[in-house]
């Protein structure tokens, strides 16, 4: 057998094993902090799988975004809600025994239907010479609109996350300040324009 093929298989099984084992650790470890660290390993394993699939760009994004950003977020969340870290707290719901067989059942049904299907397998032999460039091009042309929408989504999520996580007391204070400022601006505007009858609230810039 070709050495390359053997190596590919070895790489695949090594990466798959790493991914799955660490994923198992993520869902079973009692200490949440350790789970989060195991999650990093999983993400890296998945990035390796992407490399194996010759999707370098996705692999890079995976490392940057998941390993770099999401994990940090999760660690922050864990530490901000400090009580969670204590390992002696019960970490699993009383129904994990019900969840486990159910999940196995779902897995079984997926695998059964997956193996029963006939796949039109035709690995692309020749990828474009510049895959990342092609990807960028298609993102900016055919998928330009979804791309823009995704950026809006990120913006909205950012604003939403800030608003949700902001303590209500602080939020109220800010709103009060803003209202005060608006009222002042309105008074000034009315004086200047001298139209007292207007029933509108003009928010001055």
């Amino acid at each position: 057998m070709d050495v390359n093929v053997v190596l590919t298989y070895v790489a695949f099984f090594a990466l798959a094993g790493l991914t799955l084992l660490s994923a198992l650790a993520v869902v079973t470890l009692r200490n949440l902090l350790r789970s989060a660290l195991a999650l990093v390993v999983t993400f890296i394993g998945v990035a390796g799988i992407y490399l194996l699939l010759q999707a370098e760009f996705i692999a890079a994004v995976q490392v940057l975004l998941y390993v770099g950003a999401v994990t940090v977020l999760i660690l922050f969340a864990i530490m901000l809600t400090e009580r969670l870290m204590e390992a002696r707290l019960r970490q699993f719901t009383g129904k994990w025994w019900l969840a486990a067989p159910l999940v196995v059942l779902v897995l079984a049904s997926i695998v059964v239907s997956l193996l029963g299907a006939v796949w039109v397998e035709r690995p692309k032999e020749a990828l474009p010479p510049e895959p990342v460039a092609s990807l960028g091009e298609i993102l900016m042309t055919r998928y330009a609109l979804p791309f823009e929408i995704a950026s809006v989504l990120l913006l909205v999520a950012m604003v939403g996350a800030i608003v949700v996580a902001w303590p209500i007391r602080d939020r109220l204070k800010v709103v009060e300040e803003m209202e005060e400022r608006v009222a002042r601006a309105k008074a000034g505007w009315k004086e200047r324009s001298g139209s007292p009858k207007d029933e509108t609230v003009e928010v001055a810039r």
Partner: protein
């Protein structure tokens, strides 16, 4: 002309723009006058464009041919072909119509003269297209919706200013943004060439209805009514959705034209059976019709409409009289060939639902005191007339009545709103009276609307109702009798309302202070604007609000003019009417039926005059004269637990006043129903399953005594036999008593508790548990697939 048609999509867009501006631009949102004017202006643009589209449709060669077309020529035209239509611009507001070949064959409406489709989305082999089109039905509806809508928008300006509860400007703006959204979705529904788009707009209309009924959501009754309307119509929408799916599965098309303009498709649908239940055509037609039952408030899903009167009055006029409820009828008209292909059974079902609704709601209207509720039940009843006509194959009759009814019912509702505002928030008719002098514009326009509703010549209501009655007369005598009685009742309750509201002496402070701003000349002395923030009726004598402003009375006059002028297109010509030629249908006229219906309408008015006109109420606490009369008729006696009850005719009146107790019955059925379900399943467990075990034991005992009986019979013979029979009987009786009767009672109680306890535990409120249940469902479905 093509240019005009290409712009059709702008018609719904204009009001939508107004909504968007009010919602997203704070500078508009905070200026209430600006938002009202913006919405009205946009609506005016829509109306303008609608008129252009309409006249372009009229001028189209196909329409022209149908309009001028002598009956004969048109009749010869094969139904399947696009029947040419065109017409001289009719004098009135609506236009001519073309006759069509009816009869055994399925009637195919004229093909659209313009259609444009675009891809909405394509996933794999599935591709969805949306589009819009213009055909006579659309053109007529466009003008109706935008004209009536515009009148109501203008009216709302005055009305909402007077109804301003806490002087909240934003509420005012929000009201107009909802109105704009509503108009947009209704217009979109009309131009949709595709069931999916139609359904989307249909749901949007439902949403707006929810928002507007619950507009004063600080009133508990208002938001309850909103939720009720939403849920009840949703029941109907489920049927609609099933209908759409059936059609899509069997035709692979969402396009309406693909279904209704192709005899071969209709034929295939009519002869394909679904799971042996019925043909695709029949099932999908019934599905769609269930949607209509919900949206157009037909029995048994009519309960939401009267409650919807909790919304502001312009909303009642716009949504619950003129346009939204019309959507249901419009759907049937739109899919009419499908209903015909579905066969006579389906059509008859439709017709009977309509007929029952017509008489049912009309009788309830007799005994209501709230001015708007009378009109609400009247609307239900008139919608029943339309559905009845469509069910009898009267495409033109049903649709014409839809248009004329929109005008006069909007007129009546706006009139009632004017009365309410004019009489300073009095809604009970018993507290009104004598308003004809005080609110002359309202009175005269209301009178026109009332006469049109009653079907008095020569108002438009006369022609449209007459066509319906004629269809019933020709096809179904039983329904004809029902419809005629309903027509009688209609003119009776409208007369009652007129006397209550406008005649006699004012019976409350509010009514005494009513006034209007005159069309010409100076304002009345009393017209000095009263302090709008003055005492809100806390003080008996404090009356707030000034006279009715012109922007409330002028729309009434416009609508009244429309009501009168519309009859021009309903005039019977030698072949059909202008309207029937325009929409490509068939209309007849019969002097006999017209005479009978006029007599009936006059009789209703006469009876109303006899009972109400001669016995004007003196004070708001007087009983209803009709009830008093009915009280005098004793039908019989009931003996109940030693007491004797007189059964008087007024019991019927009470039944009407309580709306046949439908709300109570539904409350009982659906609230108690779930309890009952729990009980029944519990009973099944205890009585049947346990009973079976006990029964087996008894059986063996019986068997052994049977053997014993053989033994004894040999020795003691017949004497013992008789004794034994007695024993067996008593044993059976005892068993029945012990296990079935007692068991039932006990099981009932036990099972209720048991099942309730179990059911309660499913609702833990924990997300993960719900997720688990979802997963279980997925596993089950996948498992089923693998097994199959």
């Amino acid at each position: 002309m093509e240019v005009v048609f290409n712009l059709v999509w702008l018609i719904p867009l204009f009001p939508l723009l107004a909504t968007a501006a009010i919602t997203f631009v704070p500078g508009v949102y905070y200026r209430k006058k600006l938002s009202a004017r913006l919405t009205i202006g946009m609506m005016a643009l829509s109306l303008l464009l609608s008129l252009l589209v309409f006249f372009a449709t009229v001028a189209h060669p196909e329409t022209q041919a149908r309009l001028e077309g002598h009956a004969a020529a048109v009749k010869e035209a094969p139904a399947g072909e696009a029947v040419p239509e065109a017409g001289e611009a009719p004098a009135g507001e609506t236009r001519p119509a073309a006759p069509e070949a009816e009869g055994e064959e399925i009637f195919l409406p004229p093909r659209p003269i313009f259609e444009r489709e675009f891809h909405w989305m394509a996933t794999g082999r599935l591709s969805l297209e949306l589009g819009f089109w213009v055909d006579p039905l659309t053109a007529a509806m466009l003008v109706m919706v935008s004209l009536v809508g515009l009148c109501i928008f203008i009216y709302s300006q005055g009305y909402m200013a007077a109804e301003d509860y806490q002087g909240e400007d934003q509420r005012y703006s929000r009201f107009f943004s909802f109105l704009g959204l509503f108009a947009a979705s209704m217009l979109g529904l009309v131009i949709a060439d595709n069931i999916l788009l139609l359904f989307i707009c249909w749901e949007l209309v439902g949403l707006c209805s929810y928002l507007l009924i619950g507009f004063w959501n600080f009133k508990k009754s208002a938001y309850d009514a909103a939720i009720k309307a939403f849920i009840v119509t949703k029941i109907g929408d489920a049927g609609f959705f099933i209908g759409i799916f059936l059609l899509y599965i069997y035709t692979d098309h969402m396009s309406i034209g693909y279904i209704i303009h192709r005899p071969e498709v209709l034929n295939r649908l009519a002869h394909t059976s679904v799971l042996g239940i019925g043909s695709v055509a029949a099932l999908s037609a019934i599905g769609l019709f269930i949607g209509t039952i919900g949206k157009s408030a037909q029995v048994p899903l009519h309960v939401w409409l009267p409650d919807a009167m909790e919304g502001p009055t312009p909303v009642s006029a716009l949504i619950h009289a003129a346009t939204m409820v019309a959507a249901g009828v419009f759907l049937v008209a739109r899919m009419f060939p499908l209903f015909q292909a579905a066969g006579s059974g389906t059509m008859e079902f439709v017709a009977w639902i309509g007929g029952i609704t017509a008489i049912f709601a009309a009788t309830i209207a007799i005994a209501q005191y709230d001015i708007k509720r009378v009109l609400a039940y009247s609307t239900i009843s008139q919608l029943g007339f339309m559905v009845l006509a469509l069910g009898l194959g009267g495409y033109v009759a049903g649709f014409f009545h839809l248009i004329t009814h929109a005008f006069f019912k909007a007129l009546l509702f706006l009139g009632s709103g004017a009365v309410i505002i004019g009489a300073h928030h009095v809604q009970d008719m018993r507290e009104m009276g004598g308003l004809w002098k005080r609110l002359p514009y309202t009175f005269w326009t209301y009178l026109i609307g009332m006469l049109a509703l009653a079907g008095i010549f020569p108002l438009s209501g006369f022609f449209s109702k007459d066509e319906i009655l004629l269809d019933a007369f020709k096809h179904n005598p039983a329904l004809y009798v029902i419809a005629t009685i309903a027509a009688f009742v209609t003119s009776f309750y409208m007369t009652r309302q007129m006397f209550y509201v406008f005649a006699g002496e004012a019976r409350s402070h509010g009514a005494r202070a009513a006034a209007e701003v005159p069309l010409f000349g100076r304002e009345l002395a009393a017209a000095a604007p009263a302090d709008p923030h003055g005492g809100h009726g806390h003080d008996e004598h404090a009356v707030h609000g000034g006279p009715l402003p012109l922007n409330m009375t002028v729309p009434l006059m416009v609508l009244a003019a429309g009501t009168v002028l519309l009859s021009a297109v309903g005039l019977p010509l030698e072949e059909g009417t202008l309207f029937s030629r325009f929409v490509g249908g068939h209309a007849d006229f019969s002097l006999l039926v017209a005479g009978i219906s006029t007599l009936v309408a006059l009789a209703g008015i006469g009876a109303g005059h006899l009972i109400y006109g001669r016995n004007l109420l003196r004070s708001a606490h007087d009983p209803d004269p009709l009830q008093v009369r009915m009280e005098r008729v004793r039908l019989g006696r009931l003996r109940l637990r030693g007491k004797t009850l007189d059964l008087r005719l007024s019991a019927l009146y009470t039944l009407w006043e309580k709306k046949y107790y439908v709300d109570e019955i539904y409350g009982f059925l659906f609230v108690q129903g779930s309890h009952l379900l729990a009980r029944v399943s519990g009973w099944f467990d205890l009585a049947v399953i346990d009973g079976a075990v006990n029964g087996a034991a008894h059986l063996s005992r019986l068997l052994s005594s049977a053997f014993g009986w053989f033994d004894l019979e040999v020795v003691d013979g017949l004497v013992n036999l008789i004794g034994w029979f007695g024993r067996v009987f008593s044993a059976i009786q005892g068993w029945v008593d012990l296990y079935i009767v007692d068991g039932l009672v006990n099981a009932w109680a036990l099972a209720t508790g048991w099942v309730g306890d179990r059911l309660r535990r499913i609702q833990t409120g924990l997300v993960q548990d719900y997720l688990m249940l979802v997963l279980l469902g997925v596993a089950l479905i996948v498992g089923l697939f693998i097994l199959l």
